[in-house]
Amino acid sequence: MAAEKHSMSMSKKKTIVNTVSYIVLGLISVIWILPFVFLLLKSFDIGNTGVTKNFIPSAWGFDNYAYLFSSDCNFLQWYFNTFIIALFVCVIQTVMQFMMAYTLSRFRFKLRKPLMNIMLVLGMFPGFLTMIVLYQILKTIGLTGDNAVPGLILVYVASSGMGYYVIKGFLDTLPKSLDEAALVDGANRMQIFIKVIIPLCKPILIYTVLTSFMGPWGDFVFAYTVSLGSQAGMNVAAGLNSWLSPANIGSHFTHFCAGGVIVAIPVMILFLFLQKYYVEGVTGGAVKG
């Protein structure tokens, strides 16, 4: 009897714990989702274009979206710029990081350790410091202002080898004997890289492509600098950000929200589809340090 009673209270306790858990989870979900709901709601607000207390628009409409695609606004230009940048960056950056990671994972050469240490140390310098120098270098090559798009691609991509950690962590888990077997089978290192290693890296490949595709969408500082006022070279983050300056926020805040939604949607769809790979990459990266 006593045991039965005990087990009953156990199951009761479990139900309570679970209920509490669900409530907490529900709350968490609301907290995390709500800002995006507000953002979406605000993007349909045509009653007040500035910051408001109420999240329910006083008047509904698509005016803010219409504005984005109207000729008054360079949003489309910014968007396409960013899209092109992201496209190139995700391809080239992935290739660069793989080259670096594969080398450091599979070859043992004299400068390997020094190279890794140097990259570690370089990573400790705050990046913004060098912005003005990068601008001058790009200017020397003629990739600022109207030509900022290729210039930005170049800068995003050039040092991307330094972000090899996650991929190397993954490659380190692939048994070395695969390389050796291929060596014995008559492959040279390049063939091993292309025919054996790369096909095995699908998850981390997707992760790298995904993260490097997402990167350029968020850069509002450097892109703003490099474009030097040229609309032809501006990216979407810098453009949207300029709408929130004290002088503009009153009339452009809802435009910002609508622009934010348009930027977020494709990235988000891509992300939700490839979530599995992202999670794998993040976890792997963190555990490997």
Partner: protein, 439 residues
């Protein structure tokens, strides 16, 4: 189809860690040679040096008369099977096996016609026939993930087989398999060897595999060769205590005691008992003119028998543990002076009553014959009855000889002659190896 010669091969890792010391070995054409030893003995490293997966720090490796030190693995005409199979997970079994063939772009003459690499048909031909031999035809379209361990190992072997190679290297190919499968695969490897008929180098830490597979066994420890010889040589005449204990299971029993020469007869006195040495062993001792001395006595568990109480030379012991292995008992026993021994008794010869006696704490008597005894020098652990010197000691002698030769060369006006002498002095060390190789 090639002789493999390792000359003074060394492996030195960064930080001056020498893991393989002056490895000398001449592997004959079509010989099946097994490297065996505990982990960290350098056996895999040596194999990988032959394969070209590790750089050779010093010395040379010759395959078929060609020094291959600077050749890439693919140019060494070798095939290799890895411990963890190393199958390409993204390729099907068929493509895994075809991989080396597809990569081969050498110009060769087939049916009187010159061609580059292999045609698709030829690849199909080779892969399917190899698969047939290994019994994996039905798995050709599968990915390695969908195979069991044994099947994967067959694929790995198949991949090595399809290629024309001079030397077939196997690096602990069976150690990832369970015991039953291992026995089965062992037998298959023997059959495979007959079919391929080429030079094999096989690395294992398992002495059973070494004994069953090898024409010759190279027993290694800490990067030194401890003995080279046929399985029976290693078993019957271990050159040193290490080989004696490594080969054979359970391990050889040892006891420190004295060898006594009394007149023409030899005795040993382990555990306070005086036992006579007779047969070949006594003769050998006599031939070598060995006097009374301290020794380590070695007796293999299977060479110890049960004895009736009070019978000649019998030793009373107490049973500590009895492991029933089915066909035999492994008795862990303790002598009166506390020495622990292992005794292997076939159950088939035991009566019901005797079996009942084999329990913990019961006292029994054991006996072993003189011909089953091995005598080792406590100082250097060498077998008193074997002349060859292996291991660090051999190396030491060699180095000393070299140093002497050098010193002489510097001291003498005519450097050539004394050096030659010294080289001769070295020969007794080297020659026996050659002898064995030629047997």
């Amino acid at each position: 189809m090639a002789r493999v010669v390792l000359k003074d091969v060394k492996k030195i890792y960064p930080g001056n860690v020498e893991v393989v010391h002056k490895f000398n070995l001449d592997i004959k054409d079509k010989e099946f040679i097994v490297f065996v030893g505990p982990s960290g003995c350098g056996k895999s490293t040596t194999l990988r040096m032959v394969a070209g997966l590790e750089e050779i720090s010093a010395g040379t490796v010759e395959i078929d008369g060609e020094v291959v030190n600077d050749l890439q693995p693919k140019d060494r005409h070798i095939s290799m099977v890895f411990q963890n199979y190393a199958l390409y997970p993204h390729l099907t079994v068929y493509e895994n096996m075809a991989f080396p063939l597809r990569l081969d772009k050498k110009v060769r003459v087939v049916d009187g016609k010159e061609q580059k690499g292999y045609t698709n048909d030829q690849i199909y031909e080779r892969v399917t026939s190899a698969a047939k031999v290994l019994g994996i035809t039905q798995y050709l379209t599968r990915k390695p993930k969908a195979l069991s361990g044994g099947q994967r190992q067959r694929v790995a072997i198949g991949r090595a087989m399809v290629k024309d190679c001079k030397v077939f290297l196997m690096d602990e190919p069976l150690s990832n398999l369970d015991a039953k499968l291992r026995n089965q695969m062992r037998a298959e490897i023997i059959l495979l060897r007959k079919r391929i008929n080429t030079t094999f180098i096989y690395v294992t830490h398992d002495q059973t595999e070494a004994m069953t597979l090898g024409d010759r066994i190279v027993c290694l420890k800490d990067g030194y060769i401890m003995q080279v010889g046929s399985p029976s040589e290693l078993f019957d005449m271990p050159a040193n205590l290490f080989v004696a204990q490594f080969i054979g299971a359970p391990m050889m029993n040892t006891a420190e005691c004295e060898l006594l020469k009394e007149g023409a007869k030899y005795y040993v006195n382990p555990f306070g008992h005086k036992l006579v040495v007779d047969g070949d062993k006594a003769k050998a001792l006599k031939d070598r003119g060995i006097e009374s001395r301290k020794i380590i006595l070695g007796v293999r568990p299977e060479h110890i028998q049960l004895a009736k109480k009070g019978s000649a030379n019998s030793i009373p012991v107490e049973i500590l543990v009895n492991e029933m292995m089915g066909s035999e008992y492994h008795l862990h026993v303790q002598t009166e002076d506390g020495t622990k021994l292992v005794v292997r008794i076939p159950t088939i010869n035991l009566s019901e009553e005797e079996r009942k006696e084999m329990v913990m704490g019961s006292k029994i008597n054991i006996v072993f014959e003189g011909k089953a005894m091995h005598f080792f020098d406590p100082e250097n652990e060498r077998n008193l009855l074997v002349d060859e010197i292996y291991g660090p000691e051999a190396m030491q002698l060699e180095l000393e000889a070299e140093a002497k030769a050098k010193a002489n060369a510097e001291a003498n006006e005519v450097p050539e002659e004394p050096a030659k002498e010294e080289v001769k002095a070295e020969e007794p060390i080297e020659e026996p190896k050659e002898d064995i190789a030629e047997k």
